[in-house]
Symmetry: C2
Subunit: 181 residues, 2 copies
């Protein structure tokens, strides 16, 4: 048992959506008192750092309704039920960038908002991408714009606070520390 | 107007909680079609990298109910209504670590899950912390354990995938690239 584990007394399902579910758990705290935890259940996601032959990273610029603005991000998308993350990663790369790959390298996984959500993101890099011969249709409600930047240009955007997305900023620094080649 | 902006047609409030609210917006897409967006509203949060005189970073280990396990994280907490982030940062540092500071340096802000939530985290560093004379009471439903690690030890935990929290992993790499001194 984890230290400070919180035992579930009741779990109330509030909402089931396309992307997230919401439940409120009543928990017993380590001191025996009770509290409530609002929990967002998410299917998990992948994010991919696609690197072209010219050593440019392919980013997507996408409108994010929760923020009412567009962000520069690496390609990403959520897992379909039962799907292996590598399959999601290849599909999202194809749909969002028009590139494909048969050579994804897993880097790391991380939780984005562990205080209230169980979303995990599996991060991949591919330095072996080729343009698709035929474009595939993406999610019909997703509109993205492509940007290709060198690692140095991307790092500069992080420093200037023009990359506002945590997974993207983390991925850039991860790649920087690992070295691109 | 942002490119690919999604115009709100209707906004339905589903849930109002202590930490998050949930709404479902019907939106008009750039091609005129309609879709739904599930949106978690969050008050925003701060995270702090506290560095001791001995150049150790102070981490907290905390049980995270959405994941049913404990994570190693930097101290963090959500903004109270109308609160200036620096005030939140000082309070969370005191409550979670028993250290205080009058010298917080803002590093950057980032969105944790822009696909479905508006949570923003403001990241601070302080290299000027002193133990509180009298411990302050934290949130009564929060139980944390302190760990002090060098930047090198922390970076090693990121490499070994023993840091699973995105903000913490990002903060460590950010500090590493910036240099601790």
């Amino acid at each position: 048992m984890s230290k400070f584990e919180e035992r579930t007394i009741t779990s109330k399902h509030i909402f089931e959506g396309k992307v997230v579910n919401l439940q409120v758990d009543e928990v017993e705290l380590p001191d025996g008192k009770r509290s409530k935890r609002e929990i967002i259940k998410h299917p998990g996601a992948v994010a991919i750092i696609p690197v072209t032959k010219e050593n440019k990273i392919v980013f997507v610029k996408q409108y994010r309704k929760p923020l009412e603005k567009s962000l520069i991000e690496i390609p990403a998308g959520k897992l379909e039920p039962g799907e292996v993350p590598e399959v999601t990663a290849k599909r999202e790369l194809e749909e969002e960038t028009g590139y494909t790959t048969d050579n994804l390298t897993f880097l790391t996984s991380f939780y984005t908002s562990p205080g209230f959500a169980d979303e995990i993101i599996h991060l991949y890099v591919t330095k072996d991408i080729v343009p698709l011969q035929e474009l595939v249709d993406g999610d019909e409600d997703e509109f993205v714009e492509i940007m290709e930047l060198s690692l140095e240009e991307a790092e500069q955007l992080v420093k200037e606070q023009r990359i506002h997305d945590a997974k993207t900023a983390y991925a850039i620094l991860y790649l920087k520390l690992q070295g691109l080649n």
